[in-house]
């Protein structure tokens, strides 16, 4: 089996045994990247990575493993474009994000900048201003988003594992559409220092991998409190691989009735149902639960996230970094035209909506109200976790959409976030695990992901259930 198709754990065995070198893995990836039409990468520096590989400590937990990095995470000395014209050729990271520092301390080699929707705003990666990424299973379809490059690279064997970011589903949904594992840790589990902020109360970095075990291995390394991120929690980081295959005997899994209505594509539903039966057969009790405020989640999210984004993106003013317009009349003209020329339409839409809901006269009716509905959504989950250990649902009502679908209808795109979005609102952890494939109307095989949602800081048990779902899929 060639190196680019293997898991972290398999490669680690061979690295420790001296059978392969980190350079061998990098070469295998580089060869496949140059042959690939998927377009997952915005850039990759093989020479730099191979140089870094010469001094890597193979006794460290991820020693010698290359990890692709979504291009909204700062990697010292490399461009960090957020897939935006605003930062294209106009910003190189002057520091390592904490997750990058941690990866390096664990012997991993950051390799490659992964394509994404601009500033993480989107669900198909089509909002990238700098490149096109297609779904490896069907080149007419999107890989999902906003971490589409991260998911597509693992799925197309052009990366071993990658980091993405998830604000409303942006790790889990592309993972589902591409057929890989995608984990959104609990809010506060991973430092956001060095992640270009979209919505600061919703963003989390997480791994996209070939296996549940690989996700646990990466989580072990990147999790933990960071003094540079005051929203990171002080909870200890357990070994997430411990007890991973212990099984789910006696666990209670909740199916929210609001998530299993008419909107799901029947073939997707069939795959979910099949896996739920398998989880039941593996010893878990399936319980129907209710998350009563589900219907308000998308509306709540698109007020809170856009409001936070409008604030976070005000730093892109053309003063300290980024592309500045030529010959501005004055400072105001500099701001207005730099932002006009630098941002794509979806980014502009969200900045306008976010500014509006925060503006005088509207703050109470929209933003303040949405924050209160957020409390109700949080409570829905807290109540549910008194009855069940985890919640099971689809990741997306449909499999990967055709490129260009709903291009002019942003609202339609937003509505498809219904299953993933509440996890960010409530700050809980969630994972997408492949659970089969369906045949599209154009005849291609499209992956379907099963979503498992756990309580905040509940990743150990979440990963155990994910492992059980993975075993059902492999049998």
């Amino acid at each position: 089996m060639s190196l680019n198709t293997q898991t972290i754990s398999s490669l680690r065995e061979q690295l420790i045994a001296g059978d392969i070198s980190p350079a061998d893995i990098l070469d295998s990836l580089a060869e496949n990247i140059s042959n690939s039409d998927v377009g997952a990468y915005l850039g990759h520096d093989l020479d730099f990575a191979k140089h870094e590989a010469t001094s890597v400590d193979l006794t460290k937990p991820l020693g010698g493993i290359p990890i692709g990095i979504k291009d909204n995470i700062n990697v010292n000395g490399q461009p960090c474009s957020c897939a935006s014209s605003f930062l294209e050729n106009a910003y190189s990271a002057p520091y390592d994000a904490t997750v990058i520092r941690k990866l390096r301390e664990a012997g991993a080699i950051p390799f490659g900048r992964m394509n994404m929707d601009e500033f993480a705003m989107g669900s198909t990666t089509e909002n990238s201003a700098l490149g096109k990424t297609v779904n490896p299973h069907d080149a007419c379809r999107a890989p999902g988003g906003s971490s589409g490059g991260s998911a597509a690279a693992v799925a197309s064997n052009t990366a071993i594992a990658t980091l993405g970011s998830d604000t409303g589903g942006s790790i889990r949904q592309p993972a589902s559409h591409c057929g890989v594992v995608g984990l959104k840790p609990s809010y506060g589990r991973i430092s956001r220092y060095g992640l270009v902020a979209f919505a600061s109360s919703l963003d989390q970095i997480g791994p996209l991998t070939r296996s549940v075990e690989d996700a646990a291995l990466v989580l072990n390394v990147i999790a933990g409190h960071d003094p540079a991120d005051s929203t990171s929690l002080k909870q200890d980081v357990p070994d997430f691989t411990e007890g991973l295959s212990d099984g789910i005997q006696g666990m209670k899994l909740g199916l929210p009735k609001e998530y299993f209505g008419d909107g799901i594509h029947p073939a997707v539903r069939e795959k979910i149902d099949h896996t739920v039966k398998g989880l039941n057969a593996a010893g878990a009790e399936i319980v129907e639960i209710s998350l009563p405020h589900t219907e308000y989640a998308v509306a709540t999210y698109y007020i809170l996230a856009t409001a936070e984004a409008s604030s976070n993106l005000s730093r892109f003013d053309g003063i300290r970094y980024g592309n500045r317009v030529d010959k501005p009349d004055d400072v105001l003209d500099l701001y207005r035209r730099s932002r006009a020329q630098g941002f794509g339409p979806e980014v502009k839409r969200r900045i306008i909506l976010g500014t509006y809901v925060l503006s005088s006269g509207y703050y109470d009716a929209y933003y303040n109200r949405a924050q209160k509905v957020r409390t109700l959504i949080r409570h829905d989950f807290l109540d549910a976790y008194k009855k069940v250990d985890a919640i099971i649902s689809p990741v997306s009502p449909n499999a990967a959409p055709l490129l260009g679908a709903d291009k002019d209808n942003p609202l339609q795109q937003y509505l498809a976030d219904i299953y993933t979005i509440s996890a960010n609102i409530a700050g809980i952890c969630g994972i997408s695990v492949p659970c089969g494939a369906i045949t599209s109307e154009t005849g291609s095989n499209l992956p379907v992901g099963l979503q498992i949602l756990g309580p905040s800081m509940g990743e150990q048990s979440l990963l155990r259930i994910a492992r059980a779902a993975e075993l059902i899929q492999q049998s």
């Binding site: 809010y187 003094p227 998308v298 500045r324 400072v331 701001y335 339409p345 509905v373 949080r378 002019d408």
Partner: protein
């Protein structure tokens, strides 16, 4: 509350962002549709509910007031569109 129409040009001005005529027209329609959808939040009973600003139970941990290494000036100026004398150059802000 009545169904609101967003004044796209006014709000874009608040956000210090120019928009073309075409963008204004397209965004007007799209944002009105989104706002129409968001109206459903008005149906929720929020009596006595506190707002949630963020999810981690962390409250303003302060650190010791000691200096520690930070990024240096050269690293930061590297990204500046225009710089001189160790500073970022900008158009004149104040009329002398």
């Amino acid at each position: 509350m009545n169904k609101e129409q967003i004044d796209v040009r006014y709000v874009a001005n608040l956000a210090r962002m120019d928009l073309s005529e075409e963008e204004c027209t397209i965004f007007q329609g799209q944002l009105n549709a989104i706002l129409g959808y968001i109206e459903k939040l008005q149906d929720v009973d929020i009596e006595g509910i506190d707002p949630t600003a963020h999810n981690s139970p962390v409250f303003a941990g302060l650190r010791e007031d000691t200096s520690r290494p930070a990024l240096n000036q050269d690293d930061l100026l590297r990204n500046a569109p225009e710089s001189a004398l160790g500073q970022i150059r900008v158009p004149k802000v104040v009329d002398a």
